[in-house]
């Protein structure tokens, strides 16, 4: 990164601070008032301006009264289009929506709720953040959920940050935009290791291969009488067809016992990120196979449990490992 880049980055930060009055994330809802909408011509707009100048000179040179009229009319239309572009953004109100955490390398999806209070369509809008953009339009008088998928490169907390909502409607000659920092951030989990070694087997110490009546999907273990909560997939249709009672098939999980995923039990050759990757992969495998698992990190301990809630907590701890402890807002991924 050269000096020029640093300079321009510094300049754009300065512009953000002084012109766009940006700093910390703004509380929702962010309403686009007239003072935070900016307009400038696009490249096509400058080309149009040059074309109008040529037309004006031709009109003067050939004394074309109607040439003047056409040039001035087009100039007036372009001027009116400034107001139209501005009006296309005016009074939109933006709130944070749900986020979908992602594993590092995947796309993290941010959702913004954009409300259009006017009883008219808002066409050709575009949302840009971190080099990604999405085009959308808003139906009259209602709100819509706009999602923006951002690529992820590092684990941790990913704020949406500096976001631009813009439009070049109606003629593509004028760009109206507003810069905002919505109060929304997403969580990027470490990328799971691609080919992780088998799950560690230490822990509760029971022998391998012991059948347990903790319900799993692995092995058929027998019948029991049907209970209303049983899955229809597990109904013993053959028994029922023979005229027998309604029975459910019982399966048992092949339980390797409870697991403890321990940071310190990992080989010393692994660095922090590799450890996080492996733990992530193990957490996913453990959750899928129905084990109860505990996670032990240098500063945190999650006791034995299972289920999506537990998984999320563990993954979150891995995502934020080594980062300054963030606030607890927006942890609820759905």
């Amino acid at each position: 990164m050269g000096v020029g880049n640093t300079l321009s980055a510094g300049a754009s930060r300065l512009i953000d601070r002084w012109l766009f009055r940006l700093g910390a994330p703004e509380p929702a809802p962010i309403v686009l008032g007239q003072r935070r909408i900016y307009v400038l011509p696009t490249a096509a707009g400058y080309a149009f301006g040059v074309a109008l100048l040529v037309m004006l000179i031709a009109s003067i040179n050939y004394n074309l009264s109607l040439g003047y009229a056409l040039t001035f009319l087009l100039g007036g239309v372009a001027t009116a289009s400034i107001i139209h572009a501005f009006r296309n953004l005016l009074h939109l109100s933006i709130r944070s929506g749900r986020v979908e955490p992602a594993f590092c390398g995947d796309s993290a999806v941010f959702r913004l709720l954009i409300d259009n209070p006017r009883a008219a369509r808002r066409p050709a809008l575009r949302l840009r953040a971190r080099g990604e953009s999405t085009s959308f339009e808003l139906p009259p008088g209602t709100n819509a959920e706009i999602s923006l998928a951002l690529p992820t490169r590092t684990r941790g907390l990913l704020p949406l940050g500096r976001t631009v909502i813009e439009t070049t409607w109606p003629l593509g000659l004028i760009r109206a935009w507003s810069v905002l920092i919505p109060d929304i951030d997403n969580l990027v989990y470490p990328a799971p290791e691609l080919d992780p070694p088998a799950l560690p087997t230490q822990g509760a110490g029971d022998a391998l291969g012991q059948r347990s009546m903790r319900q799993g999907d692995d092995d058929f273990a027998g019948f029991r009488s049907y209970q209303p909560s049983d899955s229809p997939r597990h109904l013993a249709w053959k028994v029922f067809a023979r005229g027998g009672p309604l029975m459910s098939k019982q399966f048992s999980a092949l339980e390797g016992g409870d697991l403890e995923l321990d940071w310190f039990a990992l080989p010393d050759s692994l660095d922090d990120e590799a450890r996080l990757s492996r733990l992530t992969a193990w957490l996913l495998i453990a959750e899928r196979s129905g084990h109860r698992y505990a996670l032990k990190l240098p500063t945190l301990y999650f006791p034995l449990a299972t289920g999506p809630q537990h998984l999320r907590q563990c993954l979150r701890a891995l995502a934020l490992y080594g980062h300054a402890t963030p606030g607890t807002r927006h942890v609820q991924a759905s």
Binding site: A47, L64, S65, A144
Partner: protein, 659 residues
């Protein structure tokens, strides 16, 4: 309650393939822009453009994308060579328009990116301007406006592919409507400069018709089939009677046996006579004819800004009249002219070719055999011409090399140039100075706006004879054979059965009526829109009480006007349209009422929860509040809501008094 926004497929901004409806808009705009040019473009360019439009149309219909880039480059190069060959150069409006037209056709085929499409729309705008080079009449203006609307619609279709056709038309019309006030302000206040800014290419003034500076048999009868307007005159007083409507053009003295030509004359700032007698003031609006003569009514008074007066009593403009120009003139029809004419002028007006037309010479010598006075000679020549029973016709037979003899003795049929030519020849042969004067005679009062309209078909040639002590006397030999020519124009003077221009035929008087109206509108259009030049701008501003405005003040005024318009548009944009759903309005009013009591509805609170809370807070009115809330909930959640019930609810909310 979210409605999932319709999301376009994420497309890269600069590589959009043209969708069919977008293409149709662009094609429509291009077609409407190009087709009016076919009138003036060379046939091969029109053909090429038609083919390109059709090609684009079919490829669009079949859903094909852009055409091969190299093929287009090849075609463009070919077209460039073609234009170079056809015109000999690239500079100037005609080759420029031809090139632009072909370029637009080709650009339509190459719509690879948004930029290509926008470039095509810009070409459309240029070509719409190009329409005005040839023609600035109202219909062409309307055509250009329609093409402009479609072009704006195409830009709109590009930036908003999801809008319907009607919405696009509405938005384009709204944009045009909002652009219109800006146009008016700019049109009136933009400091006008009299062009050209630099020398115009040679072809800038082609295609202007009118009198020429010489006359030979057939040159005026050619003009008289044209219904084009030569000029208009608006008199402040009563217009002169037809017999006095002689509009002076070139005065032709030199005769070589077949062609009459102008003689060198001197120029002065004032006319070479003293205007006397009745004064007629009028404003002359001259159509461009690329010549210097003003065609003033005999005899103009000077001095006149921008004009000079020749020694043969013409008013001449400083530069050729290349745009519609107005002159405020005064005419003194009863002035005596040329009493002190120098001898060399009179000698020139006596000169005849050494040979030719022997029969006419003999006739003249016979008429002047006894050496009568010039006035008597004039009477005799006129008498002879009357006795000869010559016929006035639009289509005289061709005469041989002795054109005067042929007309007077053989065919005896001729148009005004034959009459004047023969008369002047006879007078000179009889020893009286005489010359041919060309110009226009007559004109028609438009009953709609009272202006006098003079057309090319009113082109005329008459004669002047110089008599001692009386100077130059106007003689119109045509009137001898066809007195109606002077009183009622061409239509009244031709024999029955002559093919007249359509509008002159008596059975089409209703058509003339329509034309009168149309020309009155066109005249205002010409005066106020097309003729809005630096002088007119000054005149208008001083009439508005602004006096003589400096151009910088004009710019200030312009900025002020534009700023006011911008503020109006801004106010329009800020105006938050009220909620259109009456039920929502009623509910909002109810919530506001309770909010005033500190019991505002919380954002997450449904109507029934809200009702329970406020009923608990205001137990005295619990029943009334409950009724309103239940009623609202029913109307809201069990549509369709009955308008009468909404009105009833509204009334209840209005009359609710919170204690």
């Amino acid at each position: 309650m979210f409605r999932q926004a319709r999301r376009k497929a994420l497309q890269h901004a600069d590589s959009a393939a043209l969708r069919r409806d977008q293409g149709a808009w662009l094609l429509g705009a291009a077609t409407l822009t190009l087709v009016p040019h076919f009138v003036t473009l060379p046939a091969w360019v029109s053909m090429l453009c038609t083919l390109l439009l059709l090609w684009r149309g079919t490829s669009l219909w079949r859903g094909q994308g852009s055409t091969n880039r190299y093929l287009i480059l090849l075609l463009a190069a070919g077209a460039g060579v073609g234009v170079r060959l056809a015109y000999g150069h690239f500079f100037g409006k005609d080759p420029g328009i031809a090139l632009l037209a072909i370029l637009l056709g080709l650009k339509l085929l190459e719509t690879r990116s948004m930029r290509d499409i926008r470039a095509a729309v810009l070409l459309c705008f240029f070509l719409q301007l190009g329409l005005f080079f040839e023609n600035q009449t109202l219909p062409v203006a309307a055509l250009a406006l329609a093409a402009c609307l479609l072009s704006i619609g195409s830009l709109l279709a590009l930036s908003d592919p999801d809008a319907g056709t009607r919405e696009r038309i509405r938005t384009s019309a709204l944009l045009l409507g909002q652009g219109l006030p800006f146009m008016l302000v700019l049109f009136v206040l933009f400091p006008r400069v009299q062009g050209p800014l630099w020398g115009l290419p040679a072809d800038a003034h082609s295609g202007m018709s009118g009198l020429s500076d010489s006359m030979k048999p057939g040159s005026i009868s050619e003009l008289s089939l044209s219904e084009a307007i030569a000029f208009r005159a608006e008199f402040t007083t009563t217009p002169p009677p037809p017999a006095l409507r002689y509009w002076r053009g070139p005065v032709l003295t030199d005769f070589d046996g077949s062609t009459w030509r102008q003689r060198i004359h001197t120029l002065g700032d004032t006319p070479a006579y003293v205007p006397t007698g009745q004064k007629l003031e009028y404003r002359l609006t001259l159509e461009p004819h690329n010549q210097r003569w003003l065609l003033a009514l005999d005899y103009p008074a000077g001095p006149l800004p921008g004009a000079r007066f020749s020694s043969d009593f013409q008013a001449l403009s400083q530069a050729p009249v290349r745009s519609r120009t107005r002159f405020d003139l005064a005419a003194y029809p009863n002035t005596t002219i040329g009493i002190d004419e120098p001898q060399r002028v009179l000698n020139a007006a006596l000169r005849l070719p050494t040979s030719g037309n022997p029969r006419s010479r003999a006739l003249a010598q016979e008429l002047a055999a006894d050496g009568p006075s010039a006035a008597a000679t004039l009477d005799r020549v006129l008498a002879h011409l009357i006795a000869a029973e010559l016929t006035y016709t639009l289509r005289p037979p061709l005469t041989g090399s002795d054109s005067v003899d042929g007309f007077l003795f053989d065919s005896r049929r001729g148009f005004c140039e034959h009459f004047s030519s023969a008369f002047v020849f006879l007078m000179r042969a009889a020893g009286v100075p005489a010359r041919v004067v060309t110009g226009y005679q007559g004109g028609e009062i438009n009953p709609v706006d009272g202006s006098l309209v003079v057309r090319q078909s009113d082109a005329h040639a008459w004669a002047e004879v110089w008599l001692p002590q009386r100077g130059w006397i106007r003689v119109d030999p045509t009137a001898l054979a066809a007195p109606g020519r002077i009183e009622s124009g061409l239509a009244g003077s031709l024999p029955v059965g002559e093919a007249l221009p359509l509008f002159m035929r008596p059975q089409f008087s209703w058509l003339r009526e329509i034309r009168h109206h149309w020309e009155a509108v066109s005249n205002s259009w010409n005066q106020w829109v097309l003729g809005y030049n630096p002088e007119r701008q000054r005149e208008l501003l001083s009439r508005l009480g602004l006096g003589d405005v400096h151009w910088s003040a004009l710019l200030g005024l312009l900025s002020l006007g534009a700023a006011l318009l911008m503020a109006a548009l801004f106010a329009w944009a800020l105006r938050n349209r009220r909620n259109t759903d009456p039920l929502d309005r009623a509910w909002a009013a109810f919530s506001a009422k309770l909010d005033a009591r500190g019991l505002g509805r919380r954002p997450a609170e449904g109507p029934l929860d809200f009702g329970r809370r406020i009923a608990a807070a205001l137990p005295v009115q619990a029943e009334a509040l409950n009724e309103i809330v239940t009623c609202y909930a029913q109307l809201r959640y069990r549509p369709p809501a009955d308008p009468a019930a909404i009105r009833e609810l509204n009334k209840r909310i209005r009359t609710l008094k919170l204690t």
